[in-house]
């Protein structure tokens, strides 16, 4: 009798586990655990031009070069969002700093892809923002992508080469 009870307990536990495992996970957004300063340092750059429209146009052209389909754009707010093959979302904000400088901030979210299954996740690898966005943008603008002043390394060396 005691044995059958034990079997019953094991069976119930196993069924509960298997049923729970089959529950589809709600699509949550996994945000970066890095600090705001760290994130801004990798996601934001400033360009030595006060022509916000030129920068905004270059951002769209760069996104098209990289294969992003533009999904929403708000030129008044300086924002543009693109989606690459339903797997990668990139939102870019262009903000004037003063008459001679414009700031660009990019934020990317990797979504569930055809081959890869994971929750939409905020990209927090500096290499992605540098190599996959600011370097091509720099080339399109013929301008160097500089760190924001407070994030600047000691020699304030430009990150991208023209």
């Amino acid at each position: 009798m005691r044995k059958s009870k034990r079997y019953c307990f094991v069976l119930v536990t196993c069924s509960a586990l298997s049923v729970a495992a089959c529950q589809p996970k709600p699509p949550e957004l996994v945000l970066s655990t890095k600090s705001a300063v760290e994130l801004r340092s990798m996601q934001a750059r400033r360009f030595e031009t006060g022509d916000e429209a030129k920068v905004y146009r270059a951002v769209i052209a760069t996104m098209m070069d990289l294969g992003y389909a533009i999904t929403t754009l708000e030129p008044d707010a300086g924002t543009v969002t693109g989606n690459k093959l339903a797997q990668l979302d990139l939102t870019v904000t262009v903000t004037p700093i003063n008459d001679e400088q414009t700031s660009v901030r990019a934020n990317a979210i990797v979504k569930v892809g055809p081959q890869v299954q994971f929750a939409p996740t905020q990209v927090d690898g500096p290499e992605f923002y540098q190599k996959r966005f600011f370097e091509p943008l720099s080339k399109a603008l013929f301008l160097e992508a500089l760190y924001e002043p407070e994030d600047a390394p000691k020699d304030n060396k430009p990150l991208a080469e023209n």
Partner: protein, 185 residues
């Protein structure tokens, strides 16, 4: 010792298959170029110059052409000459469905099971941008991508359309709709 090996195996099973999202983003974020292609060669397919400096007129013509082709406009800015649209199309192909049914039957005969999976629908997206080059010339750039969903409702194929004919057809229609003289590239 056995416990360590078991823990290591479990870790590999649990985490070995989970890719790092940053690595996935780095891979996905690459320019959409295959071997032998360059940004210039891709632009040559996607871009045309027109003898006009009236960018708003050409943007309006672009929007009309996309609508003629069955696209629904999703976002647009006439100031920046940007238009985006999409259209849904049936992607079911008889051959693919028949092959899947055959595999399912063969699997059943062999005592196994197979879920037939085939292309069901595709969403085609278009992004168009008009830029003024100089006083007498404007450039129009467009690209199309497609995302295919299977019969199980999963997105399983997504790629950038690179067939030059599709772009040629669009530019021919655009030239006709606004009587712009195409300069070519």
């Amino acid at each position: 010792m056995l416990r360590v090996v078991f823990a290591a195996c479990l870790a590999v099973v649990l985490f070995g298959c989970a890719p790092n999202p940053n690595d996935v983003a780095l891979e996905l974020g690459q320019p959409p170029l295959e071997e032998g292609e360059s940004t210039t060669s891709l632009r040559a397919i996607q871009m045309r110059s027109f003898k006009t400096n009236n960018t708003s007129e050409i943007t309006a013509a672009g929007m009309a052409t996309l609508q003629d082709l069955g696209f629904t406009i999703e976002a647009a800015s006439s100031d920046f000459g940007v238009i985006t649209g999409s259209k849904d199309r049936d992607a079911v192909e008889g051959g693919q469905v028949a092959a899947q049914v055959l595999i399912t039957v063969l699997a059943a005969l062999a005592g196994s099971s197979h879920t037939p999976t085939y292309d069901e629908s595709q969403k085609i997206k278009a992004t168009l941008m008009v830029s003024k080059v100089d006083e007498g010339t404007s450039e129009v750039r467009i690209f199309f991508d497609r995302q295919i969903t299977n019969n199980l409702g999963q997105l399983w194929k997504a790629d950038l359309i690179k067939e030059p004919e599709i772009y040629q057809e669009f530019f021919a229609k655009l030239s006709q709709s606004a009587f712009f003289e195409e300069q070519g590239r």
